[in-house]
Symmetry: C2
Subunit: 680 residues, 2 copies
């Protein structure tokens, strides 16, 4: 089982290298295109460099503190090093994903001058590089670390528990990447739009706009690096939680290694799935969507089939746990579809939202918020039912720990197809960038039409991807909380314990406080970009002369602001569980985590779906409905879209990581909390 996991992970990495090679050998197009692409790449690298510097400082401080704590026996001595390792691998995937994405964008534009299918292949291959790197590196690092730790501890359970520090490292990088990337991308986007489109009336992606490159950089740092780090962390977290819970429940090596094996099956399935992704030359959305969906669905079926065989081949883990994996797989697909239903203009909700723009911005906002609130119903029900059914089908009636193992396996099952799900997701920003490059380098209309078709498709996959990311984060956080319980098996944890109730209330509030910080950060950063763009328009006379805008300045402002603003919310996530634990006891930590999970999950869906729906309602109006571009309805819809931007791309997705990171922090720092707790 161990070798299977290690081999598939190396196979994934090999294929990722091959696909990267395929992408890099494509033509880049003419000089103008190269120049734009270079500017985007340089901006992205500059951002990444700065971000990694901040993260490195943070990791250095944490590493030092952890060494200190482990000296006083409050942490395991391997914890600081695994923490570093987890952070390093997460950062590495971000680096790989962004590098390939910023090289694939211009090649996609160039491929689109030849054919739609070719452009899709290039863009999707770069997404697959990211997807396969994430799953490959995760599985590789976890397998090897686990093998090493087993030797150190001579005990599978302790070895698996030690891996939590790895997960915390990954989680910390993910939070910085999500929050920082989210602030960067929306500050640049809102800034570019407000001055460019709204004030000056120039089109989107117009090269005269000084923030236009920053906007394109933002797509990469937010949607590629941020999303990748987010799902990397869910993937790692769910596997490690399942390994620990498997040991607690069954005390045998098969139960511990099973999650790694399922992940290996997922890698094989994802690789096969990618071969199903190809299109003809029709730009109709549903045909293109089918091309991507074919890949995901085939992968899910293959995972189910391979898992079935693995369960049948062994006897150490009860067969019933197979159902938990199946439930996770199905739930992942269903949640993605729900998100699409509420945010696509194909269905009634977005159409009605577009109609409400006829009566102005206020009704657009109210309706959009109501839509987002309503859209939380089905995903919450899906996750709640998955929790109960995977618990009971796994055998929770007879054995509590076996039930918890079932919940964790459901999370592993949901995330097993991450290789291809993330590929369809990371492909989106590449297509978006490709469109921008086509616009800026004045390509023929057919090229722009093709890249637009791919971009629109990317918006749909981004919506389903967000639903998937939120749902898997919720299940992973739940598995982590269950793991925490196994560390303090004798604690009562009644829901009526006053400390737990107080923790629950505080936990329910934290996602709101965190979101408020993220929203305000975007507002502040965007207003700086607005001022800079206005200044450049005026001083360099960009609209009336041929002067070149100073793109780098906008990038550097966004970068600086994003780094500054991401620190406070990130610290909140790390300090809250420790502080609450010390003040009110470990019971309160459970309340805090459960409260943050349940309210953060709901709020994340609300923000993703309201934001996505506003975006698509605006596009629907731009297609000519309800008065089309420039009408009053369109103006109202633009207000909705602008509100939705930081919702769906900054605050909302960061909540996924908030709930996971808080759980991980509680797990890693539990000895410290118990040692210094004032109550209990």
């Amino acid at each position: 089982m161990f070798w299977f996991a290690l081999l598939t992970s190396m196979f994934a990495l090999g294929l990722a290298i091959y696909l990267a090679y395929f992408v890099l050998t494509q033509e880049e197009g003419n000089e103008r295109m190269k120049e734009i692409s270079r500017a985007i790449r340089e901006g992205a690298n500059a951002y990444l460099k700065r971000q990694y510097t901040v993260i490195a400082i943070f990791f250095a401080i944490m590493f030092f503190l952890m060494l200190l704590f482990s000296y006083y026996k409050l942490l395991s001595p391997v914890t600081p090093f695994l923490f570093l390792l987890g952070g390093f691998f997460s950062a590495l995937t971000g680096f790989i994903g962004m590098n390939i994405a910023t090289r694939a964008n211009v090649r996609t534009t160039n491929a689109a001058t030849q054919s739609l299918n070719k452009a899709l292949r290039v863009a999707f291959s770069s997404g697959a590089v990211m997807g396969l790197s994430v799953v490959g590196l995760s599985l590789f690092a976890i397998s090897l670390s686990f093998a090493y730790l087993t030797n150190v501890f001579n005990n599978l359970g302790d070895a698996a528990s030690a891996l939590l520090a790895f997960s915390m490292g990954a989680s910390s990088v993910a939070l910085f990447a999500r929050v920082g990337g989210g602030i960067f991308t929306k500050a640049a986007d809102v800034g570019a739009d407000l001055v460019g489109k709204v004030e000056s009336g120039i089109p989107e992606d117009d090269p005269r706009n000084p923030a236009v490159i920053a906007d394109n950089v933002g797509d990469n740092v937010g949607d590629v690096a941020g999303m990748g780090a987010d799902l990397y962390e869910s993937y790692v977290g769910s596997i490690i939680a399942a390994m620990i819970l498997g040991f607690v429940a069954l005390k045998n090596s098969s139960a511990v290694l099973l999650p790694l094996t399922i992940a290996g099956c997922g890698i094989i399935a994802s690789i096969i799935g990618t071969f199903f992704v190809r299109s003809g030359e029709k730009t109709e959305q549903h045909i293109l969507l089918l091309a991507l969906r074919r890949g995901i669905i085939s992968a899910a079926i293959i995972v189910a089939f391979l898992s079935f065989i693995i369960f049948k081949l062994q006897t150490a883990v009860p067969f019933n746990l197979f159902y938990a994996i199946l439930i996770g797989l199905i739930a992942g697909v269903l949640i993605g579809l729900t998100t699409e239903y509420y945010t696509s203009s194909k269905y009634k909700h977005v159409k009605e939202l577009a109609k409400s723009s006829l009566t102005g911005a206020a009704t657009t906002i109210i309706d959009g918020l109501a839509l987002g609130m309503q859209s939380t119903f089905i995903p919450v029900l899906i996750v709640a039912l998955s929790t109960i059914t995977s618990y009971y089908l796994a055998g929770g009636f007879a054995n509590f720990n076996l039930g918890l193992y079932g919940i964790a396996l459901a999370a592993v099952g949901m995330l097993s197809t991450l290789g291809i799900t993330l590929a369809t997701d990371a492909y989106g920003p590449v297509a978006d960038n490709a469109g921008g490059i086509a616009e800026m380098s004045h390509q023929k209309p057919i090229v722009r039409k093709r890249t637009d078709a791919l971009d629109a498709l990317g918006n749909t996959t981004a919506a389903t991807g967000k639903g998937f990311a939120i749902g898997s984060a919720a299940l992973t956080a739940l598995a982590l909380i269950a793991t925490l319980k196994t560390l303090v098996p004798n604690l009562g944890l009644s829901i009526l314990n006053p400390a737990l109730i107080a923790g629950l209330m505080i936990g329910s509030m934290l996602p709101f406080l965190f979101s408020s910080m993220a929203l305000r950060a975007v507002g502040r950063a965007a207003s700086q970009i607005v001022e800079e763009v206005r200044r450049q328009f005026k001083e360099l006379k960009l609209l009336t002369t041929n002067n070149r805008p100073n793109y780098a300045r906008c990038i550097s402002i966004s970068t600086r602001e994003a780094q500054r603003e991401m620190i406070l919310p990130s610290l909140l996530a790390i300090i809250a569980p420790i502080l609450v634990g010390i003040l009110f006891g470990v019971e309160a930590v459970f309340g805090l985590l459960a409260g943050a999970l349940s309210s953060g999950f709901v709020l994340a869906i609300l923000m993703a779906d309201s934001g996505g729906a506003w975006d698509n309602a605006k596009k629907y109006i731009e297609e000519g409905h309800f008065g089309g571009k420039g009408s009053n309805a369109h103006k109202a819809a633009v207000v909705g879209d602008t509100v939705g931007d930081p919702f769906k791309d900054t605050a909302g997705p960061s909540l996924n990581i908030l709930i996971k990171l808080m759980s991980i922090v509680a797990l890693v720092f539990l000895p410290l909390i118990i040692r210094f707790a004032l109550i209990g």
Copy 2:
């Protein structure tokens, strides 16, 4: 103790009658004023009649079902009758409050022609009638019912438990009143403003606007009847929960009767407090505010003092429980002040929100939502800390049930000054109406200035009142959940029970689903009013001729829509706990209630504070800041205000009742849930 409670309640009712007599003997003013006031009163009565018809049908069905269940021993035989009784008294207080308010409005206008203090006295007296009726009728009905039930059951615990059905009756009426009234008032308000102020440019309260009377009616049905029923229910619920928990913890009659006694002290304190409310002739807000606040603070101090004496006079209840009451009193005042801090234009948050209007509607919305999210931090912390401290100070360390009793007493303490808190709250709409009548009857500027000063004061007290209502609802709901626990003492209720976790997730989602229904309902109802006002403007040529608008039609449309739209969300609150209980077991019900409490509490604060802040930011701009009336900033602020209207006056306050009603329903229907539960 029992006689003390009964006597004070009768004393409160006596004083209410006296104050009502005082109000009714004031002059009504000239014919025009009388005519307007009559129109408002008739509209309000028409609304109430229709609402009570719907409620009567609902109660008839519930009564029949309850009889059926009690025939099959799934409910106590007294339950159906107590349910009716609770509903009847709640409806009665609504009727009294609205009747006095709609008679006091014109008398306040007339008193304002003479002096500010006189106008304040009239308006405040009418509020006091409402406040004293609520506390008087509650205490009267609970005391007598309890005396009767003690005879029936021969057991104090069973008698107190039977009272829960009374609470459920009050709760059901409250939900209808809050949701229906909230929809009515905001549909009329938004409808009147959109066509009147925005489209036609006529001032607020212009008599040519056909929706203007409906708007004034709405202030009464939403803010008087709705708020009154809400707090009536909290008051009743907290007292009954404390009685039951007192019995469980100490098994003596003093512990059961103590909550009634504290409520009696609160009545005396409130009555004394009202005498402190009087003003000079200065219209400065902080002086007027001081007049009201003096009343509330004195009342709180008096309650603390009287409770201290009562605790010292007896030995059956440990003195430590006095601290729980003190904590509740302090928490109530603090939460109200926090709400004011975040929603008053005196402080920085609203000023910054007003400034964000300079960059348009989108930034206004983002900033307002961020403000509301941030504002949840302190109130949640206050309630969480109150929960822990009242539990431990009461002796929860040694005795779990004593700790729960402490939490319930904190709720009773917080609500003990309801007589005067509600008076300052119910006074607001009367002042608002008085201003409308002054405008419509073309009074001298000084009159309008005085009523405006009183109205602005009303907005402040409405904000603190909302905070108080939310905080007390959270503590009351918590006390009710604790009560539920005592009915199933052997249930484990671990936070990691999968059914409980699933319930927690679903519960966290319900306030969002419920809010979405309420927001959409307001939108639909408002659009009907918009169409009707547009039609009348056109067909009756209201703006160019002297034709009289058809006020009654707007009232009747609002009424009809409110009744229709309030049914679905109300059923959700009643069905959800029963359905979840039957499907997933009693553990899931605890999760559901805890989830709804924690997320509903946060969401309610967010909505109240965002809404209040948008409202006051708009008024701040209208005072001449950032460009003043008619500027682009003002237009953006109006969008914020319009979004905030259904937030703060419909969806937000209804959540208070949602969380309480669901808890009560679970308590009353527990035997039914246990009997038919599919799991557990």
